[in-house]
Symmetry: C2
Subunit: 167 residues, 2 copies
């Protein structure tokens, strides 16, 4: 693995967190990274709900079928897209999400992508818990905290997934 | 902008390239970064067509309505998803694409995301030029080269896109 890219390889799905809060400056860095993603025609359809209220985090953890780890996280974000702004919002918001996850690794935080869009009942759950209107898509939730587990950097590079010149 | 994350802010859409080829080792690093992305249930639905034949690059440039810059690039990749492997392939392949673009910035290359999926005629163009079967989605093309333009790092951080606790 190329040492210049270690931040990318260090991004792993971290689901266990210490009790420590995420500092305001670190949250800002995560959001700056997310909003440095490319978007089709630079429409920036992304919107973010930043959740730190314990009761709300616990409700998300209880109601999203794959959201249990949010109960241990001091911070969660809902990555949303304004449907009226761009019909590329899923791809754009996925790029913003990946930037945020790589940034979390880069500043020593741990985070995990919890899918919503593509499973209507999960998207609806996030929408209901956070009061997100129908005009806004919810790509995913991201749980963020200080890692209570150490997961080694990796790539899953696999030459069988490559085609030279043509399929 | 957080200096620890400069690789993320340095990723800009670079559309002009010198004639220099992309070294084999650098291509490997890009693909390792792409395949370090997260995917739903770790299904890794991504597949990549690596294009370096000049005639094929020129054909992509001519036939994709937003692909002109490929005519100057020594390398293009088609980021594809195996539809049978995961119905989360669009999000997973977008994360892999973003990793690859950030990695390009991290090793001094320039690259740009050229959208296909979501515009059936563009996806069909890529499929036809590269012999990609119907069972495989084409998320995007990526043109890659040594940058012939310098674009300053940036974030488009905008507090108007944030909601605290609830929408």
């Amino acid at each position: 693995m190329d040492d210049r890219l270690k931040m990318i390889f260090a991004r792993r799905s971290v689901r266990d967190y210490t009790g420590e809060a995420v500092a305001e400056g670190d949250l800002r860095s995560l959001l700056e990274a997310a909003m440095a993603a490319p978007s089709a025609n630079n429409r920036q359809p992304w919107r973010f709900v930043v959740v730190r209220e314990r009761a709300l985090l616990d409700r998300l953890a209880a109601e999203h079928p794959y959201g249990k780890m949010i109960a241990k996280a001091p911070l969660a974000l809902a990555v949303c897209g304004d449907l009226a702004v761009s019909d590329w919002w899923v791809q754009d918001c996925a790029a913003a999400t990946e930037n945020l996850l790589v940034a979390a690794a880069g500043i020593g935080l741990g985070a995990v992508w919890i899918g919503c869009h593509g499973r209507p009942e999960r998207e609806e759950t996030a929408r209901r818990c956070l009061g997100i209107p129908k005009s806004i898509g919810v790509l995913c939730l991201i749980a963020v905290g200080h890692p209570a587990e150490r997961i080694a950097p990796r790539t899953q590079y696999d030459p069988a997934k490559l085609h030279a010149e043509r399929w």
